[in-house]
């Protein structure tokens, strides 16, 4: 797997682009995302790339950096969305507090599911996370009083945002985009800090060789659980933002397909890289955008692109670029 986080020594004679990109990765990505509405065909697509890129980033923290392939991250995306939605629609909590509620609910759920699933490893872990997420899906489907069941949760439209003296019209798509962007960039900054911290080194050690990491003195189970919860809370934030964006929470937020979405996006973009999840999200959503104009069966193309990526581009688009660039170095 490819990473772009290991600090690279500065060569005195030439500009070290990978190192610059690594040091400035959060501002770089922030600028790229800020320009996104003018690059992609529609503003709706740009918002989706923003939200699902963040969702994939949260998933990537666990899959790409810690080496744990979860197939149940929809649980945290959905928990964030429902937590936010229920706080808004049922308790009348303000939008900011509602996002906080969503993250808290997602984190608590991640702690619960994580504690149960990290007892198993490898493909067992994948199956257990998938099954537990499905349990959450069925619970939400049954608890119609809270979640609206099959019809989704409605009645959480946020019209205006009050930030100090400022009053923003959240119905204005541009305002909405940049408010969501602010949250996404804050989360990316936090993820970047985590990866640069000793914690980031420790999860990479676990990905590379769990047994040796334990022999070195790392409490592998605990670190895995922390990574699981952090990953879940980032996905929870993505879900919370999606709830605000859509003004409803569809039951599909918790579905197997949503879990799979994170897997697809991260693999297409490049697992274990910082930019990969957003690139993967952009590729997937563009495929959806373009092909769904021609045919309702656009998932056929998405599935085939995914299979081709697994076969021929296992490091994803960005990951392959990074390793190609590294391979050319002396």
């Amino acid at each position: 797997m490819i990473r772009d986080i290991a600090p690279v020594q500065i060569a005195p004679t030439r500009i070290d682009w990978p190192m610059l990109a690594q040091r400035w990765r959060v501002p770089l990505l922030a600028v790229g995302l800020a320009a996104l509405p003018w690059i992609v065909p529609s503003q709706a697509l740009a918002v989706n790339i923003l939200i699902f890129g963040l969702y994939a980033t949260g998933f990537n923290l666990l899959f790409g950096f810690t080496g744990m392939l979860s197939f149940g991250h929809a649980a945290f995306f959905g928990a964030g969305a429902y937590g936010t939605g229920i706080a808004l629609a049922r308790f009348g909590i303000g939008w900011f507090g509602a996002i906080g509620t969503g993250i808290a609910v997602a984190s608590a759920l991640a702690l619960l599911i994580g504690a149960l699933s990290i007892r198993s490893r490898g493909i067992y872990f994948s199956m257990v996370t998938l099954a537990l997420a499905q349990l959450i899906y069925y619970i939400a489907l049954q608890a119609t009083g809270w979640t609206g069941g099959e019809n989704g949760l409605r009645g959480l439209t946020v019209l205006t945002l009050h930030i100090g003296p400022l009053t923003l019209n959240f119905l204005d798509p541009t305002v909405k985009y940049y408010v969501i962007l602010a949250f996404v960039v804050a989360a990316l900054w936090a993820v970047s800090r985590l990866l640069n911290a000793p914690f980031g080194a420790a999860i990479e050690a676990i990905r590379e060789n769990e047994g040796r990491a334990a022999a070195c003195g790392y409490d592998v189970k605990r670190i895995k659980l922390v990574a699981f919860v952090l990953s879940g809370s980032i996905c929870g934030l993505a879900g919370a933002l999606n709830a605000l964006h859509l003004s409803i929470v569809p039951i599909d937020s918790l579905s197997y397909q949503t879990s799979g979405l994170a897997v697809i996006m991260v693999l297409l973009g490049g697992a274990g890289t910082f930019f990969g999840p957003f690139i993967g999200a952009a590729i997937f959503l563009l495929i959806e955008d373009v092909f769904s104009l021609w045919t309702v069966h656009w998932q056929l193309f998405a599935g085939m692109v995914f299979i081709l990526a697994v076969l021929f581009l296992p490091h994803g688009v960005w990951g392959t670029l990074v390793s190609w660039r590294k391979g050319r170095e002396p």
Partner: protein, 255 residues
């Protein structure tokens, strides 16, 4: 024996289902000495090593490290208390740099760094320096930026030791450090082990008996999961039971 034991195994045993890999072994390892553990294939050396390093919990008995019973504790506790090991089959972080492999081991022993989720890892400059020192000790300073996976076999063996050394262990467990090495590399490795043993307690599993005899202060012989003999190299050479197992009856070898 005036020295206090660093590590003492008291009646430890390990059963896998119906199979007894190790049975009722009692040995004490004294501070500052280099002890070699030898025995024919299947004698239980590896199992014994796994028990002492905490990778596997014993089914019977106690392990006392500096007077504390540590049997059954998780492996990371063993490491943090000061027991580090290298592996017979190279066991590194393959896609990380040589320097990062060692730095990770330093970081694990440094409690504030280990717990930090937020501070940049490069700010812990002490850890990077420590890692460089450990690399210099095993002669890998020039390889620090390479990926561990790209090293030659002998270099990977040396990196194994550097990773173990990096946690500044009170007790260093080396599992066949010369496995698969050329005679030249073996000689270098033995010299390195000699230097390391001057400063700390070392336990060494080794196949090549001749080499061990010249290097070790004490020797422990395992046979069929049981302790056969322990003592100085001379005592082991003279031991009738060891001669029977190792040299075969009637043959009078010189070790």
């Amino acid at each position: 024996m005036s020295a206090t034991p660093v590590l003492a195994a008291e009646g430890i045993g390990k059963r896998f289902g119906g199979f007894t890999a190790l049975d009722d072994v009692n040995v004490a390892f004294e501070r500052g000495r280099l002890t070699a553990i030898i025995g024919p294939n299947g004698a239980g050396k590896s199992t014994f090593f796994s028990l002492l390093s905490g990778a596997v919990a014993p089914t019977e008995g106690h392990i006392h490290f500096e007077g504390v019973d540590v049997a059954g504790e998780p492996q990371h506790r063993f490491a943090r208390m000061g027991i580090a090991r290298s592996y017979q089959i190279t066991n590194l972080f393959p896609q990380l740099s040589v320097h990062e492999n060692v730095r990770l081991a330093c970081q694990a022993m440094h409690a504030p760094a280990r717990r930090s989720l937020w501070r940049d890892r490069t700010r812990y400059t002490g850890l990077a320096d420590e890692a460089d020192a450990a690399l210099a000790q095993v002669g890998l300073a020039s390889r620090r930026k390479r990926l561990a996976a790209s090293l030659a076999h002998g270099e990977q063996r040396a990196l194994e030791i550097a990773v173990a050394l990096a946690s500044r262990p009170k007790l260093l467990l080396l599992d066949e450090p010369t496995a698969g090495m050329s005679p030249e590399e073996t000689k270098e490795m033995m010299a390195l082990i000699g230097r390391l043993a001057a400063e700390r307690t070392v336990l060494l599993v080794e196949h090549k008996m001749k080499m061990v005899m010249g290097l070790a202060d004490r020797i422990v012989v395992l046979h069929q999961g049981k302790l056969l003999a322990s003592g100085t190299p001379d005592e082991i050479r003279a031991d009738a039971a060891v001669r029977r197992v190792y040299l075969g009856e009637g043959r009078s070898g010189r070790g």
